[in-house]
């Protein structure tokens, strides 16, 4: 346990010292809130609390994006050489992966929490039970997408490529997830992508919890874009959560496998002229 804890503490310490990163994520979230609050109003869909609807989407997107961005840090570690120090240490490879993923999860969840606090001032209603559920969901989303990010980082190996890949993934997936623009307002044409997009279910599950929708009927849930009728199959938020869990498990396993690969550090060796 000690090495895992050490890796987590190191990453958290670096996050706390790097205030610019925190500042820009929060600035981004604020900007999205500002821009899309106009969009949501003008689309003219009947939502009980459009602002709350939007902010819950922004919270979970912040968690998602932060998770992916955090994985950049392992690329920095590879290029700064520090990854070598970790790789030659007598630490089980699953412990290294766990330390990286868990620290990324904690950072993402913390950033999500900050936006929740902002949301409470705007009118988001959070009681104790729902608060706990929201944190649990943020942790789950953080774990899943940090694993995905770490896996992608370990296969791209270069930060320029990774950034490109992340931008390529993040932009369409976030806009087609209903987080900023409700899925009901999206053109019918993109529906298949919306249904295949894991972020759709991430967003809907989080909305279900944060907007206290547990007493609504399935029809009402579908009308507010929290459940989906896919050719007769009703995709409920609960199924969505299971899906995200499964996805997280798959990518975490892939990460551990990647870290067990001893030639993981070879990137560097090759660049230096195969000495």
């Amino acid at each position: 346990m000690r090495p895992i804890k050490a890796i987590i503490m190191r990453n958290l310490m670096k996050f706390v010292r790097d205030r610019m990163r925190l500042f820009f994520t929060l600035l981004m979230s604020g900007l999205f809130l500002f821009i899309f609050s106009f969009a949501t109003k003008s689309i003219g869909i009947n939502l009980a609390h459009p602002m709350n609807y939007l902010i819950s989407g922004i919270i979970i997107m912040t968690v998602f994006q932060t998770s992916l961005n955090n994985s950049m840090s392992i690329l920095e570690d590879i290029s700064s050489g520090f990854m070598k120090e970790i790789l030659v240490a007598p630490i089980a490879r699953w412990q290294i992966a766990t330390g990286q993923v868990v620290s990324s999860m904690i950072i993402s969840t913390l950033q999500g929490l900050i936006i929740i606090v902002v949301g409470i001032f705007i009118g988001l209603d959070v009681d104790f039970i729902h608060g706990i559920l929201m944190i649990a969901l943020m942790c789950l989303v953080g774990l899943t997408f940090s694993s995905l990010g770490l896996y992608l980082a370990s296969i791209t190996k270069e930060s320029a490529n990774y950034q490109l890949l992340v931008t390529l993934l993040v932009l369409p997936l976030t806009f087609l997830s209903g987080a900023y623009i409700p899925t009901m307002a999206l053109p019918k044409m993109v529906a298949p992508i919306v249904y295949l997009n894991p972020l759709t279910y991430t967003t809907s599950a989080f909305r279900y919890v944060s907007l206290h929708m547990e007493n609504q009927s399935t029809a009402e849930l579908i009308a507010s874009g929290v459940a989906f009728n896919i050719n007769g199959f009703i995709m409920t938020p609960a199924i969505g959560v299971v899906l995200i869990m499964a996805m997280g498990a798959v990518f975490f396993t892939l990460c551990v496998k990647k870290f067990s690969d001893a030639d993981f550090s070879r990137v560097k060796v090759f660049k230096r002229g195969r000495r």
Partner: protein, 305 residues
């Protein structure tokens, strides 16, 4: 019988069709200092990377303290400390935090961490810089932090991959003082690669690798006996007698009036000559053969190439 810290048998490493290391074998005795010399690209770092478990071998057997580097990675990792060619410190953390992290990774008992860090920093004269962020230090100081970190968990075997490259001569000398002090105190085995021949002189054994093959493996003095020559410049008033004597003893020489340059092989030759011609010697100068000559004789090039 002495114990072997490192055993390498028929080790080969290929990158695609390129053979970086070609069927090499050697071993290193416990508590000794072993130098691995070779021009750039000869396969030194490949060998180190494979020995410290971050690269897979293609063929052969490599053991650290009897543990196989492919199948017993964790036992191997516990026993070794490494100072890599390039920096592997976390620049954003302080000196102390870097060392502490290392202690956590290597499970140094909690109650001993402070004492060990103090010891390691004392060794490299950086006790006053504990709280400084690593990125604020000079290149030489970073190297010393790296060395302190390499030894803070008291490894049984210390790998030094060109530990002093890029350091000024004074820092280089200091770093070596620290390393040797530690080696004597803790009786650790040192595996060194270096560009500097004077660093190789202090080693117990030297192996020279070129194009992935070990081309020489011996003690520095035996290598010099085989591949380098010691010359004695002598000026004597009894030039003809001297020339006759040298020829009788089958030593090669160059003569210029009363001055001779004689190639000597043993110290006995020198003693005999000087005692015989004692009263006639006007000037004498002895140049010992260097490992650099050995290196050039074997690989046909300067190590700096």
């Amino acid at each position: 019988m002495t114990n072997k810290s490192i055993e390498v048998v028929n080790f080969t490493k290929k990158f695609g069709s390129f053979t970086a290391v070609d069927n090499i074998s050697f071993d290193v005795e416990e508590g000794s200092v072993f130098a691995f010399l070779g021009p750039n690209g000869a396969g030194k770092s490949t060998t180190i990377n494979t020995l410290c478990t971050i690269q897979e071998k293609t063929e052969g057997e490599l053991r650290i303290n009897g543990n196989d580097v492919t199948h017993q990675k964790d036992s191997v990792r516990k026993d070794i400390g490494i100072v890599f060619q390039e920096s592997t410190l976390d620049g954003k953390l302080t000196v102390d935090e870097n060392l502490r992290l290392h202690c956590d990774f290597y499970k140094v008992p909690n109650e001993k961490v402070n004492e060990r860090i103090a010891f390691a920093l004392e060794l490299v004269d950086l006790a006053d810089w504990k709280k400084a962020p690593v990125e604020s230090l000079s290149g030489g100081m970073k190297r010393r932090v790296e060395i302190a970190r390499g030894v803070v968990h008291f490894p049984k075997i210390l790998f030094l991959d060109e530990p002093t490259t890029g350091l000024d001569p004074q820092t280089r000398a200091n770093v070596w003082d620290y390393i040797l002090k530690l080696q004597k105190q803790e009786h650790i085995t040192i595996f060194l690669t270096t560009h500097y021949m004077d660093e190789a002189e202090i080693c117990n054994k030297v192996a020279i690798i070129d194009h992935g093959k070990i081309v020489a493996h011996d003690t520095p003095s035996d290598l010099k006996k085989q591949y380098a020559t010691t010359t004695m410049k002598i000026k004597t008033s009894r030039g003809d007698d001297f020339a006759k004597y040298i020829t009788e003893h089958k030593l090669t020489y160059q003569r210029e009036n009363h001055s001779f340059v004689v190639h000597v092989t043993t110290i006995e030759d020198v003693l005999e000559i000087t005692s015989l011609f004692r009263e006639s010697i006007e000037d004498i100068e002895i140049n010992k053969g260097t490992l650099n000559e050995v290196f050039i004789a074997i690989t046909g090039k300067e190590i700096r190439e």
